[in-house]
């Protein structure tokens, strides 16, 4: 009984820590993105609030919280109010299966450094990433505005074109690790990360992750030059903030997933595992920002064509090749 209580308490503590770290990271990722993008364009970026702009996320939060929460007359009220929460919550929940360190030995107990080590962790992540599109699609539809609707439509179309390639690019990883659990996938990369043994799958997954996070070059659902703000045109105040922070949490989570699936998770020489983990996540996030600073937005049909005509066939070929090589190496076990 006390054992169960202790386990529950530990999970709660881990949840709280993960939530705090994730939200802080998302908030400061916004600042980091604005600063890095600014430096890439030879500007300074936000540098007025606090030392070097370090309090900017707080100022943004206060601004968003004190703005009016506007409800358009044409909106479908309940869906409109629910959608931002859906977008943020799915992003938060996905982090539950990501292992961020080796199991910790404390008072004779093994504490796994993951909120919940599901044996179908990858499927769970997939389910949530598909659900996240509902936040966008329902929010865009419920706004009762043409721009929002177009953004939502694009989000759906985009999801259809990247999700299959994303799934197909993970299967080689599962084949190599012989497990659906992210913890075991990380364990399987103790010697060599899968990004080196299977770079093609890594590339496909990375591109699909870019599309999943709805960032340049795949930020079609919110394309500001043609759709004002896409699916969140009608949102204001903290509801817009939830969409916004959801996007950045999603960026952290995708960084964590990429790290766990392909970059060897918390494995690394010399430094403590947690540092390696966060370093890799931040490196992936920096790459996302770097890509945003470099690439133009793709056209709608270009993304579809790229997804279906390039990524999916490549992923299929890669899957066949990986399976063949594994069979040849290990025999039919």
């Amino acid at each position: 009984m006390t054992d169960l209580l202790l386990t529950g308490l530990l999970i709660l503590i881990k949840l709280g820590m993960v939530l705090a770290v994730l939200l802080t990271m998302a908030a400061y990722l916004v600042l980091a993105e604005r600063k890095i993008l600014a430096r890439m364009q030879r500007r300074y970026g936000p540098n007025r609030v606090g030392f070097g702009g370090m309090m900017q996320p707080l100022a943004d939060l206060i601004k968003l919280l004190t703005k009016e929460d506007f409800l358009p007359a044409q909106a479908d009220k309940w869906l409109f109010l629910l959608a931002p929460g859906l977008a943020a919550v799915t992003a938060l929940l996905a982090f539950a299966v990501v292992p961020f360190g080796p199991p910790l030995e404390l008072f004779g107990r093994q504490i796994p450094m993951v909120v919940c080590d599901l044996n179908v962790g990858i499927l769970y992540f997939f389910g949530l990433s598909s659900l996240a599109v509902y936040g966008v699609a329902l929010g865009g539809w419920a706004s009762g505005s043409k721009y929002s609707l177009l953004g939502a439509l694009r989000a759906m179309g985009q999801m259809l074109s990247y999700e299959l390639a994303m799934g197909l690019s993970i299967i080689p990883v599962i084949l190599m690790a012989r497990s659906f659990s992210l913890t075991e996938i990380v364990e399987a990369q103790a010697s060599l990360p899968f990004a080196l043994t299977n770079p093609l799958a890594f590339g496909i997954f990375f591109i699909a992750a870019l599309a999943e996070s709805k960032r340049t070059p795949f930020d079609l659902p919110e394309a500001e030059n043609e759709l004002v703000a896409g699916f969140h045109t009608e949102y204001s105040g903290m509801r817009f903030g939830l969409f916004f922070v959801g996007e950045y949490i999603n960026m952290v989570v995708l960084g964590a997933i990429v790290t766990s699936l392909f970059l060897g998770g918390w494995h690394g020489p010399l430094l403590p595992p947690i540092v390696w983990f966060f370093g890799k996540v931040l490196a992936v996030a920096f790459t996302f920002i770097w890509i945003r600073g470099t690439m133009p937005r793709l056209r709608y049909d270009q993304l579809m064509a790229f997804g279906w005509k390039a990524l999916v066939p490549l992923a299929l070929v890669n899957l066949l090749a990986t399976g063949g090589i594994l069979l040849w190496l290990g025999g039919a076990s």
Partner: protein, 176 residues
């Protein structure tokens, strides 16, 4: 090959943005750093004085007529010696678009544009400037010019008394 060009075109920009990441920003952080505008910069106008220290403005209304946003107004008056001046001269800098047409229209070089650009204010009424605020005690870009020594017949100098003026012709002598 086309595909090779596309791949190169996709990855080259990354190098460019990475290089720019480490360059110095070109931003001038305004309230701390200020740039000196060039001397002929067109910001707020000034009312200059002629070499004798008198106001150059003769209240001819040409500036307010030239002003596309109608931000200049004045009241003309005349001194006892016949010299015209503006009883009051008012410009609303909240409306001014700093086009410099007033300075171009000014026949006496009274209105000139100065490079002072920091005019912003929270209270729009403080942007209405009077003659006293605009008057300066120098001649601006052409300090030697004195309108009344070229024109303004018989006001400061007797007829024909100016340097570039011929004595008046006695029209009777031209009679046959």
């Amino acid at each position: 090959m086309n595909l090779w060009r596309n791949i190169k075109g996709t990855f080259q920009p990354f190098w460019v943005t990475l290089r720019y990441l480490f360059k110095r920003p070109v931003t001038i952080s305004y309230p701390e750093q200020k740039r000196t505008p060039p001397p002929r910069y067109r910001a707020r106008m000034i009312l200059t004085r002629d070499p004798e220290g008198e106001e150059r403005c003769v209240a001819c209304h040409l500036c307010s007529a030239a002003c596309p946003v109608d931000c200049i107004s004045m009241q003309a008056a005349e001194r006892e010696n016949g010299r015209r001046h503006a009883a009051w001269f008012r410009i609303n800098f909240a409306r001014c678009i700093y086009c410099g047409l007033c300075a171009e229209a000014c026949p006496t070089l009274a209105i000139q544009m100065s490079p002072e650009y920091e005019l912003s204010n929270r209270d729009p009424l403080k942007l209405v400037w009077e003659k006293e605020d605009l008057l300066v005690d120098h001649g601006g870009k052409d300090p030697d010019y004195n309108f009344y020594h070229h024109s303004g017949i018989g006001v400061v100098a007797p007829r024909g008394g100016n340097d570039d003026e011929l004595p008046p012709v006695n029209i009777k002598t031209n009679l046959p």
